[in-house]
């Protein structure tokens, strides 16, 4: 039981960055923009967050600068991909390469560090010990003692869902993605809406990046986002573009990560546990495909 609660606690922790990135990418996805740059945005935020935290010792400033870095990339992505109409996948991959290179370059040139940057001066995010939660059994064990960003991510889920379905912005974003013509015909600012969707994603990726770098480890490691941006994309696809579905699939990944961390000393090799989310996404999608197979053309989905 203790073991299970501990795994669930870690699940929530590991889910947070994936879910934030995925919920962020969700808007772009609904607006018809494939945001491959989620990975780069997170990494940039993690990097600049760590640097700022090191230089100032102020976690709020770190948060701000991290998000700012991610937003700047959001602008670059939007400018090249939306305004200049470059191929979105290429622009996204270019940004990912650029961030990986730049973070490691700056680390080496400015701080003389290779690969990893750890220092006692780096201030991390404090885990919150919430008195009310602490005393509730089970729930307390799962939900207490997380970084503020974890709690924020749960709020984000609700807000994202609300915005998408109950506000003008959400309707506009869905319109732009589903039927651009309709948006143009009533004079909705199509490009501006796409920019907004990407930039919302940037802010959330910024939060995700900070949480990765400044939760319990408080350091920057090259490539420390480890493909979470792509996993987030997979979660969006598998969750069929809904906020809830996206979060559920993010949880699946988070759970597998947690299992892997917790089971390192058990006999099953971690690799196989780590494979679970990837394989289960494939299985889930295959089953959905099988169920939909009746009366459908091959080309329907393309």
């Amino acid at each position: 039981m203790e073991q299970l609660l501990s795994i669930l606690h870690t699940t929530l922790r590991m889910t947070t960055p994936i879910a934030l990135a995925a919920l962020g990418g969700l808007y772009a996805h609904r607006a018809g923009v494939l945001n491959v740059a989620l990975e780069g945005m997170m990494l940039a935020s993690a990097f600049f967050g760590v640097i700022t935290s090191f230089a100032t010792g102020n976690i709020f400033l770190a948060l701000f600068v991290g998000i700012l870095a991610s937003v700047v990339l959001g602008f670059v992505f939007s400018f090249f991909g939306i305004t200049l109409k470059g191929n979105l996948t290429i622009v996204g991959l270019a940004i990912n390469t650029l961030v990986a290179g730049a973070s490691s370059f700056i680390l080496q040139v400015v701080f003389g560090q290779r690969g990893t940057f750890a220092n006692q001066k780096i201030v991390g995010l404090k885990e919150l010990d919430i008195p009310i939660l602490r005393n509730i059994p089970i729930l307390g064990d799962i939900f207490n003692k997380h970084t503020p960003i974890v709690y924020l991510s749960l709020l984000v889920l609700v807000v994202v869902h609300f915005i998408l379905y109950h506000t003008k912005l959400g309707v506009y974003i869905r319109t732009v993605g589903e039927k651009e013509d309709a948006a143009v015909s009533v004079g909705l600012p199509v490009n501006k809406l796409r920019y907004i969707s990407v930039l919302i994603g940037s802010v959330l990726c910024g939060l995700a990046g900070i949480n990765i770098a400044l939760e319990n480890v408080t350091m920057f490691v090259e490539n420390m986002t480890g493909g979470r941006g792509f996993i987030a994309l997979a979660a969006i696809y598998s969750g069929r573009g809904t906020a809830i579905g996206t979060y559920v699939f993010s949880l699946l990944f988070g759970f597998a990560d947690a299992m892997q961390i917790r089971m390192q000393n058990i006999k099953i090799p971690g690799a196989f546990i780590q494979m679970i989310p990837y394989l289960s996404i494939i299985v889930v999608l295959s089953v959905i495909g099988l169920l939909n197979k009746r009366s459908r053309r091959v080309s329907d989905d393309v």
């Binding site: 609300f162 109950h166 506000t167 003008k168 309707v171 506009y172 869905r174 319109t175 589903e178 039927k179 013509d181 309709a182 948006a183 143009v184 015909s185 009533v186 004079g187 909705l188 939909n292 009746r294 009366s295 459908r296 053309r297 091959v298 080309s299 329907d300």
Partner: protein, 512 residues
Amino acid sequence: MSVIEVQEVTKRFGDFTAIDQITLDFAEGEIHAICGENGAGKSTFMNMLFGLLQPTEGQILLHGKPVDFHSPKEAIHSGIGMVHQHFKLVPSLTVFENVLLGEEMTQSLKIDRQREKESVQATIDNFGFDLDAGDKIEAISVGAQQRAEIIKMLHRNVDILILDEPTAVLTPQETDELLDKLIELKNLGKTIIIITHKLDEVKKCADRVTVIRRGKKIGTVYNQDVTEKDISRMMVGRDVSLDFDKKPCTCGDLVLQLNNVTATSKLGKKVLEGIDLEVKQGEIVGIAGIEGNGQAELMELFSGTRKLTDGEMIYKGKKINCCDPAALRKMGFGLVPEDRYRDALNATMSIWENMIAGRHKDYCKLCFFDDKVIRQVTKELIEEYDIRNCDNIDALVSTLSGGNAQKIIMAREISCNPDIMIMSQPTRGVDIGSIEFIHQRIIQLRDEGKAVIVISSELTEIMNLSDRIYVMHKGKIVGERETSQTNKEDIGLLMAGINHQANREVAFSYGT
């Protein structure tokens, strides 16, 4: 008094002049029809009025003041609304959400859906439209979607309404209703501009008619002063006749037979139900119906891209329930689908690559292409089918006009020497010259003893070509007639789902 004056407006796209020095005025409270063939520049002209395009030269005056719209929003704010041929509606949203798109009613941040719905329903009732504000667009009929588009504009208080080919998707009865509605709106003081190439409709509702040919204005006339024939001559530049002498049909063996065929959509809804149908050698069978009543699905069934869920399809005595397009083609099916650039042609490939598609394997040695043979065959077909602007067969097929592109498809399909030829909307978006040519080829196919099926929503086309007619409504065949023993009115009623004395209400409740 004129509401809009257009002064010497020209629109160029690169070297191509789409609109050439057009001067025109629209009077308050009139229905003004803009007529012209496909590609004459009607839509370009209207898009300039609506702010989707800006004139290269010349100016547009609204109530005597020059205007320069840069977006449809500005046009709408100035009181000009447009109903496009391809609806600008978001399928997953409701009617009221679409109507209010961009002008949502909110309570603090949240959209107040209840108030929105009531407000839109009030407008609908006010103008006497048959529409439910709460329905989702993807769940209502095409006619209802069009009503939603019109309401979308009326709700925004426009006093000038532009309609681009509004009747293309409607039944004769729905068309009449629409035209009546337009006259009603005119009497309320609205100015209506209707773009169309259907002259009988022009005659029914317009006050004045302007004809455009190849981007130039040919003239503006009062409707009461001219006949359909006069307008037609202005449009084409010569007399046109789409009537021809047809030998009586000499039917041979049964080729294709559908017995009690049913098919369901992804969501489990029946899109085809209990279809019984047969075609014989040397016979043209027409399938009439308002668009969206199962013809597209039927065509998919014929093409092997949709599987039937019940019943059987029998070709020359053999059951062919689940064949893919490749297998059907091998058995002698020639297929001309309705969506030209989706199914029949690959817009980003060259003319010759499109010309050999499907039998490309016949032109190769050891899986390498035999360029010489391919080029020769392509050139021969281009000549035989009188396909224009095809000197460079490496050019993209999308550079061709609708008529020439359709001829490429006809040439390809006919040269495969099919036993049965199935065509959907064979002359949509095709100029009159090509229509004549294509119709003659279809008759010729029949006279050669092929079985031919023509699916079309153009009633005139069905009446002219077919020996026998089936009429579809709501995924069913609601009637079968020998062409010689029926008339347009009879078929029109069937298209609306009314089998003579049946209740007229049925027709318009579809999908709502």
